[in-house]
């Protein structure tokens, strides 16, 4: 394995511990794109240091849901709390109004996100990608941010690539930089949206390895992925989404041994 990361979270000063037991609390989340009803009442509770894998057919609403968790998408009904804070909205007189931009930005600082297509900033080196937000948003002194950034790069196996631009990195390397970039903000929750599905098969392992390490060290994570090997190794729970709803939930073993829902069986038979 190219990357043998150790103590990923030590690089950012240990596991950022959320104050409460519950990190994510979503209740009855509905989302429409115009007239298209995409989320039809999604509820879930994610505890501290839990790793939850979300599976489901393409178009079932997995991406939309995790984008709602950091308010990249608005929701039309329901509530999402992260760390006890209502995400994206404030309640006035029983009604929800969208929160101020600065508050939303502050909430997002606590939530790391890793995208399917990496979305590294192409005009910045790997290290610059990582230190940008800590310096601009968290106002961390530059030398300290650089030190942390280099430590993170080393832990994801890319110490030598600090000055390299994303275009000169492989997909797997880019995604590892993207994970380091998200971790540099010391998030209490990490969201992954199919982080390996845009990668060539030979690079999937190196990214999953970093994610497994992160899970073992106690990061709270929601991971949309069809890598059932990953789920079996580190997931506490698996959620199956179908047509905007969570239709089945259980341990990875449950999904391997006796999935109950017909749709789940059909889906798993395709990906396993």
């Amino acid at each position: 394995m190219a990357a043998q990361p150790h103590d990923l979270l030590a690089a950012i000063g240990g596991v950022p511990v959320p104050p409460g037991d519950v990190v994510v609390e979503a209740t009855d989340v509905h989302k429409w794109f115009g007239r298209l009803h995409v989320l039809k009442g999604v509820s879930m509770t994610i505890k501290r240091q839990e790793v939850v894998v979300v599976i489901g057919a393409s178009g079932s609403g997995k991406t939309t849901f995790i984008r709602c968790v950091n308010h990249l998408e608005k929701i039309q009904q329901g509530r999402i709390f992260v760390n006890g804070h209502l995400i994206g909205y404030r309640e006035t007189g029983g009604r929800l109004v969208e929160d101020r931009e600065s508050n939303i930005a502050r909430q997002r600082q606590e939530i790391g996100m890793v995208f399917q297509r990496f979305n590294l900033f192409p005009h910045m080196t790997a290290l610059e990608n990582i230190i940008e937000a800590p310096i601009r948003v968290r106002k961390i002194p530059q030398d300290q941010a650089i030190e942390t950034g280099k430590a993170l790069l080393a832990r994801v196996g890319l110490a030598a690539k600090a000055e390299t631009y994303p275009a000169q990195l492989s997909g797997g390397q880019q995604q590892r930089v993207a994970i380091a970039r998200a971790l540099a903000m010391k998030p209490i929750l990490m969201l992954f949206d199919e982080p390996t599905s845009a990668l060539d098969p030979e690079m999937i392992g190196e990214v999953l390895e970093v994610m497994k390490e992160l899970a073992r060290e106690g990061m709270t994570m929601i991971v949309v992925t069809h890598e059932m090997g990953f789920a079996r190794e580190v997931a506490d729970r698996v959620l199956m989404m179908d047509d905007g709803l969570i239709i089945e939930e259980g341990t990875p073993e449950h999904f391997f041994q006796n999935p109950t829902h017909e749709r789940t069986k059909a889906f798993l038979s395709k990906i396993l």
């Binding site: 950091n70 990249l72 931009e101 600065s102 930005a105 502050r106 997002r108 600082q109 939530i111 790391g112 996100m113 995208f115 297509r117 979305n119 590294l120 900033f121 192409p122 005009h123 940008e132 937000a133 601009r136 948003v137 968290r138 631009y165 994303p166 275009a167 000169q168 970039r181 998200a182 903000m185």
Partner: protein, 306 residues
């Protein structure tokens, strides 16, 4: 066919430069011929050669004015255009309305009208008299200020579209990644999106400046002694329109030609700075004589560099 952002007249006419050059040579030769024959109209070629090879103080000052007015106006245009583009894309409706009115007005009225309105109109109506101002010891005439103002504000209205297209060409995933890290819209724009859009904007910006160098000649209307105004006066004084206008054309051609070399150099450097991207802009030959016939090449120029 030319820039997908704003196909300007000069872009479309660029392939015509070669035949036009040939035509100028033909005219010159014909002029010499008719002179030698002693028949036809009398042309005093000294007017032309002196203007080109031994430019007097007026011409040199005119050159300086043309270049400095063009640079200043373009700068104003870039700044206003950027704000207008951001305004057009703002969530806050009054900003959108303001930007749209600005663009609508300045693109919908002739530049000539704008120039004379701002200079004569405002001063006669006693709204603003364009008094001379002093910057670093240089007194700057009111007409020059009005001219720069009109050219810059007009340019901004056009440049807004270029900036907007540049911003829209950047993957929305960039803004989302920035936001997911806790950056505000303004931070994401300034640090992530605009620097990337800038690379896309440079080639059309170069074309805009080429136009600007020539458009300064409209300031003859308010008697700014820039290059064209100087030659316009000279041709009247000596009644030698052929010689002096031809000399004016040569000077403008020199300015735009020098600029096209600079532009090619800037774009080459930019292409180098862009990691992984080997797309460089067209060389100076394409710039002078028009680009290749392959439209994909030109689209690539705008969406590339990323």
């Amino acid at each position: 066919m030319a820039s997908p952002l704003r196909p300007s007249l000069s872009d479309r006419l660029r392939p015509a430069v070669v035949p036009a050059g040939a035509a100028i040579v033909a005219v010159v030769l014909a002029g010499c011929g008719s002179n030698a024959a002693g028949g036809g109209p009398h042309l005093n070629w000294n007017y032309f050669f002196d203007s080109v090879f031994h430019p007097d103080g007026q011409i040199r000052f005119g050159l300086w004015l043309t270049v400095s007015i063009a640079i200043t106006s373009q700068l104003i245009g870039v700044i206003l255009g950027t704000f207008a583009a951001l305004g057009k894309m703002a969530k806050f409706r009054p900003f959108r309305i303001m930007a749209n009115i600005y663009i609508w007005f300045f693109r919908g009225t002739p530049l000539v009208v704008q120039i004379v309105f701002f200079y004569f109109g405002l001063s006669v109506a006693r709204i603003y008299g364009w008094p001379e101002i002093n910057i670093l010891g240089f007194g700057i005439d009111g007409a020059i200020q009005a001219g720069i103002f009109a050219l810059g504000v007009n340019e901004g209205a056009y440049f807004a579209e270029i900036v907007r297209a540049g911003i829209l060409s950047i993957d929305p995933g960039q803004m989302e990644a920035a936001k997911s890290l806790g950056m505000t819209y303004a931070q994401s724009m300034r640090r992530i999106v605009l620097p990337q859009a800038a690379r896309v904007i440079v080639p059309p910006l170069g074309n805009e400046f080429n136009n600007m160098l020539k458009t300064t000649s409209l300031l003859v209307l308010i008697s700014v002694p820039e290059l064209y105004t100087v030659f316009n006066r000279k041709q009247g004084n000596y009644f030698a329109p052929f010689e002096f206008y031809l000399a004016a054309a040569v000077w403008f051609l020199l300015l735009t030609t020098i600029w096209s070399f600079i532009q090619a150099w800037i774009e080459r450097r930019l292409a180098k700075g862009t990691a992984g991207s080997a797309t460089s802009g067209p060389g100076w030959r394409d710039r002078l004589f028009g680009r290749g016939q392959n439209p994909a090449e030109e689209v690539g120029l705008v969406s590339g560099g990323r």
